[in-house]
């Protein structure tokens, strides 16, 4: 039983990080219907900014998060304006291929020796690790930080999306961007803002990932990105609570399979669940079915 609960805690740890990445995917998809493959690499850049801030400049934890957030936001807005905006009215697949191109570019460009380099780098712990033993279940302060930071981000996001003018504009654009534009919403700015907001969360996720699994590499964004996107689809893409739910399911299933079956099947299980869920609910657990109109 203790072993099981311990695995639940470990699953929550990775699940929360997936949730932060999944939110970026789900918001961007909800607004421009684009699978932003470069998002996983924005997450990687966030981890690297965190690494530099902690190791080279030894900034305090808050400054580390802020620098990653700022860096990722700027990067994502640049990507959106240079690569995606010119293709907004082109066939959807052109943007998708461009997104894949941006993703490959970020991975390989940053792995050049002149940039970050191709090696694995260890991510120093920005604070001493403390672990509490509660009836045989170990909880570390890293997990506590991940929990509190993620919940804080989620509440902040909920506030932005549902209580601010920008959030209302985002919801309007995601519902129907042509009409939203006619009603005076600055669609371009809203889309840029959404990319930036998603990237900010990915930046936070990158730093948390670096703290929890202290090794970073320029290709580290690919698998978490893919799984986070899957999580977003699992929960119902375009749906914010759905993305979090999907990410938590993803984290749990992955951890449970590693713990009880074999870690070789870890990457596969998430997708088995995804396919099963899609067969049962083709738009995800919390997704609303959309009727096709002629």
């Amino acid at each position: 039983m203790e072993y099981f609960l311990q695995q639940v805690i470990n699953g929550l740890q990775i699940g929360f990080v997936y949730a932060l990445i999944a939110l970026g995917y789900t918001m961007v998809y909800g607004i421009v219907r684009l699978i932003n493959f470069a998002h996983g690499d924005v997450f990687m850049i966030g981890a690297f900014i965190g690494l530099y801030a902690v190791e080279r400049y030894q900034w305090p934890l808050t400054a580390v998060f802020v620098s990653a957030v700022v860096g990722c936001t700027i990067l994502a807005v640049l990507i959106e304006q240079l690569a995606y905006r010119p293709l907004r009215h082109a066939p959807k697949i052109a943007s998708l291929i461009t997104a894949i191109g941006v993703s490959l570019f970020l991975e390989y460009f940053t792995s050049l020796r002149q940039v970050f380099g191709p090696n694995f780098y260890s991510f120093p712990r920005p604070f001493a690790v403390v672990s509490w033993n509660w009836h045989g279940i170990l909880v570390t302060n890293i997990q506590a930080v991940i929990f509190f930071v993620t919940v804080f981000c989620l509440l902040l996001l909920q506030f932005i999306v549902f209580r601010t003018k920008m959030g209302r504009a985002m919801r309007a654009v995601s519902f129907d961007y042509v009409t939203a534009g006619l009603m005076g919403v600055n669609v371009n700015m809203v889309i840029s803002f959404t990319f930036g907001l998603g990237a900010a969360l990915a930046g936070v996720g990158g730093v948390l990932y670096g703290i929890a699994y202290p090794q970073v590499n320029t290709f580290m964004g690919f698998m978490p990105g893919l799984k986070a996107f899957t999580a977003a689809v699992l929960g119902g893409i375009g749906n914010i609570p759905g993305a979090v739910l999907g990410a938590l399911i993803m984290g749990q299933s992955e951890t449970m399979v590693s713990a009880y079956v074999s870690s070789a099947y870890r990457d596969g299980i998430a997708f088995v669940i995804l396919i099963l869920v899609l067969l049962w609910k083709p738009t995800g657990i919390l997704g609303t079915p959309r009727t096709e109109k002629v």
Binding site: I97, V102, F109, D267, P282
Partner: protein, 321 residues
């Protein structure tokens, strides 16, 4: 009469292509390395024609094409290794079995997933691709000969220029004739507007299955050829990036464009290898920095693909000739 004339034309084209390349290679004009790259390009072109049927013509967004390529490769390689020896007839049988295995799996996967729409189908096939990668990685647990994560060795080197050219021409012939048949019309109508097609009495699900399974069969045959080209298989040859490679080729060529897919396959493979030669030593890692930039710029300038809707004369339907 017309059939006979077409058959003769195809045979002459085949004899000319296969013969001239073999002669150039045999005479030492082209070095064996480049001949191997050419063979690889032909194999990739076959697989890409398959995805072109699935995505370009039928409009089914598939991100798991490499999985079917891998299924074909492992099936053919296993059969050849266990029962085939060096026989050419056995090789043909193994290739067809590879295609058959891919088709069978495509049927199983297609039955539930083809009811999903656009991006959801993409994600489901992507998931299938990742699952198959995990299966290939741990394949040695149920069949030790497959090698699992260590890779599969001991495959005979059977793939030659005549074989790849034969299958490439056959695949082009099949796609062209299929697309200009009533099946093809039905398939294209699904891509254009599924609801309208359904209204006209087309059993969309059945035709989607036809498109999907045919495309996956191509991938399976191409996989078999690939396995016997390098005589070594590794699960990483069939991961997500390989699916993306093929997708990029199909989109760059122009969706639903046979000529474009053909040219883009050769262009892509020769670009990858050519950059290895052109870039000065020490800068080879720049290859994957330049390629995405090229990809992004091409997409920004020609979002409809390099060829758009134009086709080579021999790939056009009767109506347009």
């Amino acid at each position: 009469m017309r059939l006979l004339r077409n058959l003769i034309k195809t045979f002459v084209a085949y004899a000319f292509l296969a013969g001239s390349i073999s002669l150039l290679a045999g005479g030492g004009v082209v070095n064996p390395y480049w001949v191997q790259i050419l063979e690889l390009a032909c194999i990739v072109a076959i697989s890409a024609q398959g995805l072109n049927i699935i995505y370009g013509h039928t409009g089914l967004f598939s991100l798991g094409h490499a999985a079917f390529y891998g299924i074909g490769a492992y099936t053919a390689a296993y059969l050849m290794k266990m029962y085939g020896g060096q026989s050419q007839a056995a090789f043909l049988a193994a290739l067809l079995a590879g295609g058959g295995a891919a088709a069978a799996v495509a049927c199983l996967i297609g039955l539930p997933t083809l009811r999903l729409t656009s991006d959801y189908l993409g994600i489901a096939t992507l998931g299938f691709g990742i699952i198959m990668k995990v299966v290939f990685d741990s394949a040695d647990r149920f069949l030790p000969e497959l090698g699992g994560a260590r890779g599969m060795t001991g495959i005979a080197k059977m793939t030659t220029v005549p074989w790849v050219v034969f299958f490439l021409l056959a695949s082009l012939l099949v796609v062209r004739n299929m697309i200009h048949s009533s099946y093809g019309r039905a398939i294209l109508s699904i891509r254009e507007d599924e609801i309208a097609a359904e209204t006209m009495g087309i059993d969309t699900f059945q035709y989607k299955m036809v498109g999907f399974v045919t495309g996956c069969t191509f991938a399976g045959v191409a996989g078999g050829l690939y396995a016997h080209l390098y005589a070594f298989l590794h699960p990483s040859n069939f991961d997500f990036f390989k699916s993306i490679d093929i997708l990029v080729i199909v989109v760059l060529g122009g969706l639903g464009n046979m000529s474009g897919t053909l040219v883009a396959s050769f262009g892509w493979i020769f670009l990858l290898e050519g950059l290895r030669v052109v870039l000065p030593p020490g800068y080879v890692e720049l290859r994957w920095v330049l390629i995405p930039v090229l990809l992004i710029v091409t997409m920004l300038l020609r979002p409809q693909g390099i060829f758009g809707t134009r086709e080579f004369p021999f790939l056009r339907g009767k109506v347009y000739r």
